[in-house]
Amino acid sequence: MTSIRRDILIGLVCLALAVALPFAMPGRYVITQSTLFFIWAIVVVQWNLVLGIGGIFSLAQMALFATGAYATAMLGFYWKVPMLAAIPMAGVITVAVGMLIGLACLRLRGPYVALLTLAIAQVMYVLIVNDTDCFTTTGGCMPLFGGVRGIGQFGDIGLRALFPSKWYVAHYYVGLALLAVAVTISIIVIRGPLGLAFRALRDNPGYAMSRGISRFKYQLWIFAVSAFFTGIAGGFYAIHFRVVGPTVFSFSTLLFLIAMIVIGGLGSIWGPLLGAAVLMLADEGMRELSDYRNIGLGLLLAVFVIAWPNGLNGWLQRSRASRN
């Protein structure tokens, strides 16, 4: 079986299971948590393109996610743009921001990129949180970006009105569809010529460039591709929770997502998804120990990087190889 066929097979099986889930476990809690899982999985799958395939150590993905969420909310709040149009527009805005960040990181390498992107995210957070000037006074004083309290009341995609009692199931399927598209795009990128170019630049920039692969072009490409769906996921997050606040910048979310990628397997197709699923389940299982959540996450992250740098995916591949 070729690897691309295997990917399609795994993808279809996962999709079928996910489609069947609301029928098997109709509880509202399970469904909404799964929807959250889809949102994080989209971000993680796209981040993996930059981090794992491109080898660019960008920590800006949560900032891009926030850009998408804030763009959706602000388009809806200030210009009354219908949400179905606002989300794709937010995706495009996120692409623009992503390319700007990519441009700023273009001449940097390794750790410099990580620091710069982390600092950019931090500045966005500080500017939003410290803003206390009233930009609008309709319905109380609100700063331009909503300040600490965030932005709410920016509209909906209409599924809540359409299915008043089952809207969360509808959101579940929207999230699933978005994730399916995001994963498909990531498979196409990874298996296709674009992914080959990214990997060549990652593994040996000198040789890749001397073969005529432009770092400028492909780095911007990779930031643009991964930003689009991250922005869309941010928009969907805004719709789903009906409010966007500065908590999307929180370091513990960043830690959670990066742990998903590392534990699943950096640079593989299914690893990040697997890691996202495992960590979401582990998070649920340890709900009563929530005080220790970040300690556990930190330990897991450190232990996996040190002992199993290829993550669960690498472990699965090794065990399959030893079976054959």
Binding site: F57, R107, L115, L116, A119, I295, G298, V305, I306
Partner: protein, 292 residues
């Protein structure tokens, strides 16, 4: 004129604190190529240990400072043995150690959150009184911080320039293989550098918490600024880092006065981005020539 004195005074204090926080980071990056993301947590830990030693154990402040430095040096050693040593044997050291120290930092930070609670605590190691220059009142605390920072910086400079251990550290950061061939035990150097960086972080954590307050998350901001300083100076360049730290401290104080606190961090960052676009290897860094 008074404004100028005020800006210079608070800028120098800020710069001195950043410099002490940065030296450790820069030393570690210079010799191991390791970005220690747990640095902020170690810095906070230093502040808390000092607090606990004075308030709960009743130690003399000077002893408390030493105790904090000692504990944080141990944490640095622990990071070396548990994370850096095993990762150095594998590939992709720079990326992996970065992620691993993010994890370790989160563990330390949340342990402090469990141990000391989320509420701000004042740092008991404080000096009362003030000096008056012109019409400006400068707290003695700031003068004290500046003094401690200068002593530490001179100490580190003497260590690096005048002792054989310092020569070995410099040799390792210039060229690891060559140093190894000359009989330098790089493993031991790495351990020493991480311990030293932990001790320096403790002192800077105590200084920072003495003019702000102690909270479990207080390390994040100075760490990010220390990273910015490192990046502007060129990662691993210790002396450049000191100059850049003081320059950024003065700049921050000036922007805080002119544009308000809100914009100071954003202005700093904009400057860093511009510097990095102009000189991707930092102001004092040397461009690395990569041979294929």
């Amino acid at each position: 004129m008074d404004v100028l004195i005020q800006i210079v005074a608070s800028g120098l204090t800020l710069g001195a604190m950043y410099a002490v926080a940065t030296i450790g980071l820069s030393l570690v990056y210079g010799s191991l190529n390791m970005l220690n993301m747990a640095h902020g947590a170690i810095l906070t830990l230093g502040g808390y240990i000092c607090y606990a030693a004075i308030v709960h154990a009743g130690l003399h402040p000077a002893l408390a400072l030493l105790a904090a430095a000692f504990v944080c040096a141990l944490v640095g050693l622990m990071i070396y043995f548990s994370a850096a040593l095993p990762l150095l044997r594998a590939e992709n050291f720079e990326t992996n150690i970065f992620i691993a120290t993010i994890g370790i930092g989160s563990v330390i930070e949340n342990l402090m959150l469990k141990g000391f609670g989320p509420y701000p605590i004042p740092q008991p190691l404080a000096v009362d009184g003030q000096v008056v220059i012109g019409n400006v009142h400068i707290p003695l605390q700031n003068v004290f911080i500046l003094g401690v920072a200068i002593v530490l910086m001179v100490g580190v400079a003497i260590l690096l320039q005048r002792t054989s251990a310092g020569r070995a550290i410099r040799a390792t950061s210039m060229n690891r293989e060559a140093a190894q061939l000359m009989g330098v035990r790089v493993g031991r150097i790495y351990a020493q550098v991480l311990a030293l960086s932990g001790a320096l972080a403790a002192v800077s954590g105590i200084m920072i918490s003495s003019i702000a307050t102690l909270t479990p998350v207080m390390g994040g901001d100075p760490m990010l600024k220390a990273f910015i300083v490192c990046v502007v100076a060129g990662l691993g360049n210790v002396y450049g880092a000191v100059v850049a730290a003081i320059a950024l401290g003065l700049l921050e104080a000036a922007t805080q006065y002119v544009l308000g606190v809100r914009w100071s961090f954003a202005t700093l960052l904009l400057l860093v981005i511009l510097v990095l676009i102009w000189r991707p290897y930092g102001l004092f860094g040397k461009q690395q020539v990569v041979r294929l």
